[in-house]
């Protein structure tokens, strides 16, 4: 029995070690922390506004449909609000930018990635997005032009030109720009897995039930086994 316990402990530690060893971010610079709450409707709606006004100039989120903006209770936009956003696009259409990938490639040298899965698809997730938004700086070596230098981006040279105009902004605007970056990070974290709040809510009940079931079966096991002599 003792050896079994030792064995189980070794394996448990190994598994925990695997899960907790955090992965380094791609860019090297330590990420800034994004203050996001994917259950906060106000923050998500503010993030949606930033997304539509700024990001969608070039980026799309093809897996986030206009219908979804109404259907997910976290956003719960009205039909009128969605109609304003979508123009002549179908309700079932994803949020597709008006800039074509070809035009974007011509202007910026590469096609902007779709943002539907940008948070689960990047190491650091929402923190990485937030850090990018407020990470534009002057290149200390003076090699990379302003607006293309971002220490949080792998290699430092990013094709996306400073979307929130963070570089050389007025000190008075810092709080507002940071808030926009937090909000859009929250929105992107939400659309990366739009059922995540529902999942966690159901999960509490499922895990709660299973804990009770485990306790009941454990007592039942002890009861059945009490006549077995060791």
């Amino acid at each position: 029995m003792k050896t079994t316990n030792t064995l189980m402990a070794i394996l448990a530690i190994a598994v925990m070690g695997f899960s907790t060893s955090a992965m380094a971010s791609g860019g090297g610079a330590a990420l800034k922390h994004a203050e996001i709450d994917v259950t906060n409707q106000e923050q998500l709606r503010r993030g949606l506004t930033v997304f539509v006004d700024v990001c969608m100039g070039c980026h799309s989120a093809k897996y986030m449909t206009y219908r979804g903006l109404m259907a997910y209770p976290e956003l719960a936009l009205t039909r009128e609000e969605v109609d304003d956003l979508r123009g002549d696009k179908s309700l079932m259409s994803g949020m597709i930018s008006d800039m074509s990938p070809e035009d974007a490639t011509e202007s910026y040298g590469k096609s902007p990635p779709d943002l539907s899965l940008i948070v689960p698809g990047r190491r650091g997730g929402a923190d990485y997005i937030y850090s990018l938004m407020v990470g534009f700086e002057h290149d200390p070596d003076g090699k990379i032009p302003d607006g293309n230098y971002n220490p949080f981006y792998p290699g430092g040279r990013i094709a996306m030109p400073d979307p929130l105009s963070w570089l050389d902004h007025d000190a008075a605007d810092t709080a507002e720009l940071e808030q926009q970056a937090h909000d859009v990070s929250a929105f992107l974290a939400f659309i990366g897995d739009p059922h995540q709040n529902e999942r966690r809510a159901i999960g509490c009940w499922v895990v709660g039930f299973l804990v009770l079931l485990t306790l009941v079966l454990w007592r039942l096991k002890v009861e059945v086994w009490k006549d077995v002599k060791h």
């Binding site: 189980m8 698809g121 999960g203 895990v207």
Partner: protein, 405 residues
């Protein structure tokens, strides 16, 4: 409850035509199991549970999944789109898909613990050699199924993982190129690869079911080993499988499902170990990810592969590291089964478990010179462990084995 059911007229009718009563008695209510099995003996039933869960969730996923690498808007493909459709638009599709993706890792976790139990208590030794060998076949088919399944979402790691692994077959002399082309269905991973991997991903679990049936049958012929590793014959040493082990397994299942559900509902990516970050990026044959690594359950073998400069030797070593598991019952010559009474083997086998975990860590991490040496040393110990087994009885002083329990 079973006794009551077996007294009904309906059961009598079925029994006359199937011999159900004899089967239930010999396999369940009068099937003798050692009374001293510890909780390490729970992992067989858990592995069976995971096999069933993977098949059931997989069948539902196939109803919505589309195996096509045809490009769609935004650099995605039909296959990637269909997975996201499952995650977003199919009712409870996210649940089914996370259960399947997390289930793959949990399946390997319980199977590795099940195998570790066999290593530690000598469950592979006479008369259970064939039982062990069937188990190794199951492991190989599982690894194949997992590899084929990982391509299906057509993410970056799907694509590049499949590229790396299928290229390995190119190292085989003379036939290598031909074998790779047959496997891939062309000269590079593409739509034909996706379709044949999908087909094989459906075939392999069916093979698994059949072979697991053989595994359980073989077990019921030779019966369970036990922590003392001794042969038990006396009736007072045995208890019937039902109700004692059915309730113990049910408790184990509930405990395991609690952990499984916690991961599925609260942490399905498991920090990139169960679903890799790069696989949320659509496959792009023009952009190689900075670091390509298989999912954790294949990384120990990946390290063995990477430990050799020559690709051919690396491939042979990786194949050999799995093939040597078939030989374990014949390499291990000691008459004593359980590591409890084999002081040297006990240290060796615990070091072997740590070694495999270290190998896994090295395979998962980005390669560095230090990790390379650690990986090479671990690879050396992996093979040394097996090489030393035949000579162990010559100098190992085993402790006296108890007469009974």
């Amino acid at each position: 409850m079973i006794e009551k059911m077996m007294k009904t007229q309906l059961f009598a009718w079925v029994d006359r035509r199937t011999g159900a009563e004899a089967i239930i008695k010999s396999q369940l209510t009068e099937y003798p199991a050692p009374k001293n099995l510890n909780y390490m003996w729970n992992f067989g039933s858990l592995a069976l549970l995971m096999l069933v869960l993977q098949i059931v969730t997989g069948i539902f996923l196939v109803m919505y999944y589309k195996p096509s690498a045809e490009a769609t808007f935004g650099g995605f493909t039909v296959a990637f789109d269909s997975v996201e459709r499952i995650m977003r638009d199919v009712n409870f599709g996210w649940l089914i898909r996370y259960m399947h993706a997390v289930g793959a890792s949990m399946f390997f976790l319980v199977v590795y613990l099940h195998m570790g139990r066999g290593f530690y208590y000598g469950s592979f030794k006479e008369p259970r050699e064939l039982l062990w060998i069937i188990g190794v076949v199951i492991l190989l088919i599982m690894q194949g199924a997992a590899f084929f399944g990982y391509l299906l979402p057509w993410g970056q790691m799907s694509f590049w993982g499949a590229t790396v692994i299928t290229n390995l077959f190119g190292a085989i002399p003379v036939l290598g190129e031909y074998v790779t082309q047959i496997l891939v269905g062309g000269f590079a991973i593409g739509d034909p690869t996706l379709n044949r991997f999908f087909s094989l991903h459906y075939l392999f679990p069916l093979l698994l079911v059949a072979i697991v049936g053989g595994h359980v049958h073989a077990l019921h012929v030779v019966h369970s080993n036990n922590p003392e590793g001794i042969d038990l014959h006396k009736p007072e040493q045995m208890i019937p499988f039902h109700p004692y082990y059915t309730i113990k397994d049910a408790f184990g299942v509930a405990f395991f499902l609690t952990i499984y559900a916690y991961i599925v509902f609260f942490n399905p990516q498991f920090a990139g170990y169960f679903i890799e970050v790069d696989n949320y990026v659509p496959a792009n044959n023009l952009s190689t990810p900075a670091h390509i690594a298989p999912v954790w359950y294949l990384t120990p073998w990946y390290t063995i592969l990477r430990s050799f400069e020559s690709k051919l030797i690396g491939v042979l070593a990786m194949g050999g590291s799995l093939a040597i598991l078939f030989l374990l019952p014949f390499l291990c010559r000691s008459a004593v089964r359980s590591a409890r009474y084999r002081p040297v083997y006990r240290i060796m086998v615990i070091m072997f478990f740590v070694d495999v975990i270290v190998l896994g860590y090295c395979g998962h991490s980005a390669p560095t010179p230090t990790l390379k040496i650690v990986g090479q040393l671990s690879t050396a110990y992996y093979f040394l462990f097996f090489a030393a087994l035949p000579f162990l009885p010559k100098f190992e002083k085993t402790k006296p084995v108890p007469e009974g329990i």
